[in-house]
Symmetry: C2
Subunit: 95 residues, 2 copies
Amino acid sequence: MSEKTSSRPIMRLLDALGQKWALRILWELRDGPMNFRHLQARCDDVSPTSLNRRLKELRELGIVEHEESGFQYSPAGKVLAQQLLQLHQWADRYL
Amino acid sequence: MSEKTSSRPIMRLLDALGQKWALRILWELRDGPMNFRHLQARCDDVSPTSLNRRLKELRELGIVEHEESGFQYSPAGKVLAQQLLQLHQWADRYL
DNA sequence: TTAATTGCTACACTTTTTGTAGCATTGCTT
DNA sequence: AAGCAATGCTACAAAAAGTGTAGCAATTAA
């Protein structure tokens, strides 16, 4: 993956969200800010290496930010999260 | 990943979509059915091994199906795809 | 019967992720 | 000030996943 960082916004987004744990991390942030270790626990104890890398990527895209209260959605990230939360309804209906 | 296949629908979905290329594959299917090699080309020439595994997982979840005309969304998959297409608008606005 | 196209597998190599330990910094608390 | 717990994060060897290339088996077309 990450062959040559496409410049198209949608491709950059799909590249980022298409990495392992990325979607799950965003999903687990839905209840508000939380710290690194808490988030890690919520993500089935994903390795800190992976969590750290994913968070870095999500921060670079401006989806996640790191404040005193912990990791949380950025304003733009909130909008994106709204769309991801719809996946829940889909899953409950079709899976 | 794929530690112990959670039974919750949303987790099964996030597990599947959280694999490399899964989102991208769904994205590239938006223009209608296409065959394996065409899809592979659209996905930056992802390896056939990966493409095949992802397609298998997406088919097992009932998101994608394989007809004479090629790989395409299932009826349920169409609904999901509708939601994923919204990512495009988000990306164009915020990235 | 030959040739082309299909989905897909084999396999050695590379990249990514994992799991565990622990470091460095910050902010208590005594 | 000294100890201590909590924080984000890094190191590193082992395991897992992905890659790239070749090519197989089945189907269709010529």
